[in-house]
């Protein structure tokens, strides 16, 4: 089963999507609408977002691409809900920068509170998986708490969704094809098998430091194949058997409107 949050017909709804793409609301109402309909506005799929953990350089080939040694322990940074947006929504490119790239990532959504979780028990704490695009702006990187908040905590730069797939429906999260297209052209072609630290490892690691709670998310990093994105570009991040996440880039002025 898949789970999402949408606005449909002026109503904000929690929905389940079955194997035949039939949509049922949490009230039991069946919606007569196709998944690709423009009548659906997709919200970020986690209803009460908690702490968002993201991993840097967690694919060996991406580490090489960025001229880093693969890390000996996870490089983790934190993001908050201001960065989230949904499927088929917009993300902005700040004015006056040279290089902003997508990062297609598998996301594990925590479903149960836990501390000191053993690796072999870790998936019991995962409600499901989704896809995110953890945009980065390389111009803003500084070597202080890197990747710093100016790079990774900006409004709208963590599209996520469209839905969460139950953990049980993904027997092996480290055998999934991961691709990104920009304006229909394939720019990233990898597999989650190349992840350095997998979800159970990261859950054990983080939960030795702190308590994990429902609504927390772990974004697991991106493989090789990043390119600059410009306003007007449409970026689709896909992970096999999970979902495809579409984002349109806009300028900073278009995004902020009156607040620009």
């Amino acid at each position: 089963m898949r789970h999402a949050r949408i606005v449909f017909d002026g109503r904000e709804l929690d929905i389940d999507i079955d194997a035949n793409d039939r949509i049922t609301t949490s009230e039991g109402e069946v919606l007569d609408v196709a998944l690709d309909s423009d009548q659906i506005t997709w919200l970020p799929p986690v209803k009460a977002p908690g702490t968002i953990f993201a991993l840097g350089i967690n694919y060996a080939d991406h580490a090489t691409e960025l001229a880093f040694e693969p890390p000996k322990e996870p490089l983790v940074f934190i993001k908050h809900a201001n960065t989230l947006t949904g499927h088929k929504q917009v993300s902005y490119r700040p004015d006056g920068i040279e290089y902003q790239h997508y990062e297609c990532e598998l996301v594990a959504v925590i479903g149960k509170t836990g501390k000191n979780i053993k690796r072999e028990d870790a998936l019991d704490y995962v409600a499901g998986y989704t896809v995110c695009n953890d945009f980065a702006i390389r111009d803003y990187l500084e070597n202080y708490y890197r990747p710093n908040l100016r790079v990774k905590s900006r409004d709208s730069l963590l599209p996520m969704g469209p839905w969460i797939v139950d953990t049980a429906d993904i027997p092996n999260a480290n055998a999934l094809k991961l691709t990104t297209t920009v304006n229909g052209k394939l720019t990233q072609d990898g597999t989650t098998k190349d992840m350095i630290f997998d979800v159970p490892f990261v859950i054990e690691y983080l939960s030795k430091i702190m308590t994990l709670n429902p609504g927390d998310m772990i974004c697991t990093g991106t493989p090789h194949g990043i390119v600059d994105c410009q306003p007007g570009d449409t970026i689709v991040c896909s992970i096999e058997n999970v979902c495809s996440l579409e984002t349109r880039m806009v300028s900073e002025q278009e995004y902020y409107g009156d607040k620009y």
Partner: protein, 222 residues
């Protein structure tokens, strides 16, 4: 997370905002891994599992083998509580967006490096008491003239004059609001004395700002 935390959704902390600390570290900033001095505020989050309250016990941290860590430290900061949605505001207008002030204590492992996000050091459960209450913004004419003190078991260990901050409260609100839209109840811990105070198991910690209050906490593990 403590149910009655004063924090709503986000606690942003500013590191390296003590002029004396910046001067002391200046020689290292051009070396690896930093290579250049910071050009922007150095920010980190205390996530929701860290949030706690006045009077609460702060857990003594464990290492990865499950043993008590050898050392912990505390810093204290003025906590600026956002009063209304704050998006891309100027420094001139920034204080109009403040709803109130409080105190943030940041318990952590000793700060050793600022290169990578310090998840192991900073994200410990219950390590960010905030309180004792939120004082309305109109009670504090100029936050830049306040001073933050820390006492351990009744003995004063640290005094930090906010006049010695590299970046002012207004400047920080403006800069941060151009990274992220801030929401009511989100809190910015604007600056800590560069010298964090070493603490031991069972210590009683008082963080005080005149006109804002005193935040009392006890270290666990004793």
């Amino acid at each position: 997370m403590t149910a009655n935390t004063l924090v709503n959704s986000k606690l942003v902390c500013v590191a390296l905002n003590d002029k004396a600390q910046l001067a002391a570290l200046d020689a290292t900033f051009n070396d690896a891994p930093y290579k250049k001095p910071p050009t922007q505020p150095v920010l980190y989050y205390k996530p929701r599992n860290t949030w706690s309250v006045d009077g609460a016990e702060v857990e003594w941290a464990k290492d990865f083998d499950g043993n008590d860590v050898a050392a912990m430290a505390v810093g204290a900061s003025l906590g600026v509580v956002i009063g209304k949605e704050t998006c891309r505001v100027s420094a001139e207008d920034a204080l109009n967006y403040v709803g109130g002030y409080t105190i943030v204590s940041d318990f952590s492992l000793p700060e050793e490096s600022y290169y990578r996000p310090d998840i192991k050091g900073k994200c410990l459960d219950t390590s960010a008491p905030v309180g004792p209450e939120i004082v309305a913004a109109d009670q504090i004419a100029n936050p830049g003239t306040l001073s933050v003190s820390i006492s351990v078991n009744g003995e004063q260990k640290s005094v930090f004059e906010l006049a010695n901050m590299e970046r002012s409260v207004a400047e920080l609100i403006s800069t941060i609001s151009r990274i992220m839209t801030l929401q009511p109840g989100e809190i910015i811990a604007v600056g800590f004395a560069g010298d964090r105070v070493a603490v031991a198991k069972g210590d009683k910690i008082e963080a005080s700002i005149e006109g804002v209050g005193t935040l009392n906490n006890t270290l666990g593990g004793a």
